[in-house]
Symmetry: C2
């Protein structure tokens, strides 16, 4: 079903079977330069494939992330996290167990803008996440959710 060779190749490289739904989901995502919620993406994709189901969108987003074709913008969607540390600081985030540790702002060279931002955007603050594996997770299976 009219799948582009580009998308076929991309899927082959990532060891996924190429389906029409996947191509439309992936390409819609790329064409949008924002990072829409699954719901919004679903509405967009529905214009192309009216019969697609929301579950398929979710399943494929997960598949793409696992295959490395997409990355999650925030590792903490799904649960509220708050910060009571009033000092300027950054976060160390474990990609595996999702733990968040504070890192003093002085540990990083100051963030400096080198070019103009899009017109009208008013900066409030910078937030830096250093993403990786915490000691515990890097000792066990790398990149997988730890068992204990």
């Amino acid at each position: 079903m009219r799948l582009s060779t580009e998308f076929r190749d991309l899927c082959r490289r990532h060891k996924l079977s190429a389906t029409h739904q996947r191509q439309v989901i992936f390409e819609t995502l790329q064409s949008l330069h924002s990072h829409p919620s699954p719901e919004v993406l679903y509405e967009r994709v529905r214009r192309e494939i009216p019969s697609i189901s929301l579950a398929t969108v979710y399943k494929n987003l997960k598949t793409f992330v696992e295959a490395g074709m997409l990355r999650e913008v925030s590792l903490h969607h799904g649960t509220l996290r708050v910060d009571s540390n009033p000092h300027p600081h950054h976060h160390l985030v474990c990609a595996s167990c999702k733990a968040i540790m504070d890192l003093d702002a002085a540990s990083l060279a100051p963030i400096r803008l080198k070019s103009k931002l899009p017109k009208g955007f008013q900066v409030q603050r910078f937030s830096v996440d250093i993403i990786g594996l915490c000691r515990r997770c890097s000792r066990t299976r790398r990149g997988t959710v730890s068992s204990s």
Copy 2:
């Protein structure tokens, strides 16, 4: 009920009434140097106040955030966002409408560590969010969810 003067003052400054539950929630959060999920925080707080309800924890987290005593770690908990942009880049995040825009990595001075990270942490990548108000939101009610 045995509330510390410190906490009383903190609440007064933020125009909140000081309750035992609030003090325990807030101080538990501060004593933990991680950023636990509401569920985990609830379990901790329950050791002090066995009768507290999870709803109270949620209500107060929200109250504290609104009062400015806490800040949300991620503005996108509650909805999955993915990134299909393979080029190194940062994100402009609108604190009001939650829109995410890409910003080329070259727009920011390179992130450099000035000190050692906690032992055993393996860095995978840096993720920088520039948080503020997008053009649209900064034109309308500042900091509030836009109506249209």
